[in-house]
């Protein structure tokens, strides 16, 4: 059956192109029901960034949720005996906005779950770049892929800032690139100058690996930060060989909940959109919490954000 392209919305065309891309790379379609047990989401609320879930009771009195997220469900249902590659295209439902209204948003994403090493990470990040290229074409805008490694900052904080509430505050300030407040906070709490210098340098840092590598090398003083940096370099190299045209910018203001994310995290941004159009990362932490000790990495594209 032929469909005339003109009847499709830009967001629909983008979503179809993304599905085509994922399927052509050997990813299998993951489908799920709209209604799911609330318990799974309630137990992992922070994974959803504390988002409000739309709930209701079914005729048997069970509390159900209108699915707020796909990754959680993919993770919960994954068979970890083998490494699987899946993609999805679903609507998700959350409450949001000033009036706390219900919202429906399309998400299209891909995940690898199982044995995840540098090769798989590079594959997913390169695929994320290819997905951004689809959006770039669809929305006629420039795109960038920002990438970070949560292990690097976690390593720094572990070495120098023992109290969790201090580490949390430093993380927030870094995510806001708030160097002046960071300096003040370090001084007030008598934190070591090395930590203060490192975090202030990370605040100001944004660019391709070659531009920021010297800064990162300088503060990679613990085993954990060193390992994180090595992995970041390996993945960046891996992406360059899979997608030589990819523009990857290192941005350590990109932080994620460390209970779920461990390792590479990334996001896609596009001109004309005030918020990211894609976000992803390595979420072994979530798998462990679900009782599945294995690796997992993936990303979601917010296709509704595609506008012409």
């Amino acid at each position: 059956m032929q469909i005339n392209d003109s009847v499709l919305l830009p967001s629909e065309v983008a979503a179809l192109r993304l599905r085509e891309l994922f399927a052509s790379r050997g990813y299998n379609r993951y489908e799920m029901t709209k209604f799911e047990e609330y318990a799974l989401y309630a137990a992992n609320r922070e994974f959803l960034g504390g988002a409000d879930i739309v709930t209701f009771t079914d005729s048997n009195g069970r509390l159900l949720a209108l699915r707020p997220d796909v990754t959680l469900s993919v993770a919960a249902n994954a068979d970890i005996a083998t490494t699987s590659r899946v993609y999805y295209h679903e609507n998700v439902y959350r409450r949001g906005g000033l009036a706390h209204e219900f919202r429906e948003r399309a998400q299209c994403g891909a995940e690898i779950i199982g044995d995840v090493g540098v090769r798989e990470m590079s594959e997913v990040v390169a695929l994320a770049w290819n997905a951004l290229e689809v959006l770039q074409f669809q929305a006629q805008s420039d795109v960038l892929l920002d990438i970070s490694h949560v292990g690097y900052v976690a390593g720094l904080l572990e070495k120098y800032a023992p109290a969790p509430h201090i580490a949390a505050r430093l993380n927030t300030l870094l995510s806001r690139k708030n160097a002046p407040e960071l300096t003040r906070f370090c001084r007030e709490n008598a934190l070591p100058a090395t930590l203060c210098d490192a975090l202030t340098a990370l605040c100001a840092m944004y660019g391709e690996l070659s531009e920021v590598r010297a800064t990162l090398e300088k503060y990679a003083v613990t085993d954990e930060t060193r390992a994180a940096l090595d992995e970041l370099i390996a993945v960046t190299d891996g992406v360059k060989s899979l997608a030589p045209q990819a523009v990857l910018r290192i941005d350590f203001s990109l932080t994620q909940d460390m209970n779920y994310y461990s390792g590479i995290v990334f996001q896609g941004i596009a001109t004309g959109r005030a918020a990211p159009v894609m976000s992803g990362g390595r979420y072994d932490g979530l798998m462990h919490r679900l009782g599945k000790p294995c690796g997992a990495i993936g990303f979601a594209v917010y296709t509704d954000e595609v506008r012409i």
């Binding site: 407040e181 944004y206 596009a270 005030a274």
Partner: protein, 203 residues
Amino acid sequence: MINIALQKGRIGESVYEIFESHGYGCDDILSDTRRLAFENADAGVRYFWVKPSDVAIYVERGAADIGVCGLDVLMETRPDVYELLDLGVGRCRVAVAAKNGYRDTGRGVLRVATKFPHIAQAHFDTRGREIDVIKLNGSIELAPLLGLSDVIVDLVESGKTLRENGLSVVEEIADISARLIANKVAYKFLHGEITRLVMSINS
């Protein structure tokens, strides 16, 4: 081209003068009082005058790439933006104030009149004090005088307005100054321009 949101009024004007002294000036911007948008293509800047409490919204939503607003606005609206610089102008404090001689007995629910419901709530949450927030949009000092509230949470600059109304500061919450903020996406696409501007002003 960098789009810059500045707050209307005295503080916004002194912030503009800082930008101007670093080569980001715009003709007529201070003399033409009705126009809201001004552009200097050579310097690569376009300014908007907006209501102080709206600066953060313009920046968060990407209508402006960067902006300058008080820390009070950031604390109140918690926009998802980068906070790049403390410009050190527009200094004042957010404080709890009440009628001279007032002491909180700790009994019952404390009635707090304020323009800043989130700041007030967050402050009293840290002490575990239950409060009833009364959101007002101006003349906050009147509330305790009329018995509308027990205390107020408001900006205090010299303390003159408080004194003239028989009020005094009970407790300080935060030191406020003007902050340069940036939209998280614009910061990246205009990284060179914004970094140049920030470095120049910070030097």
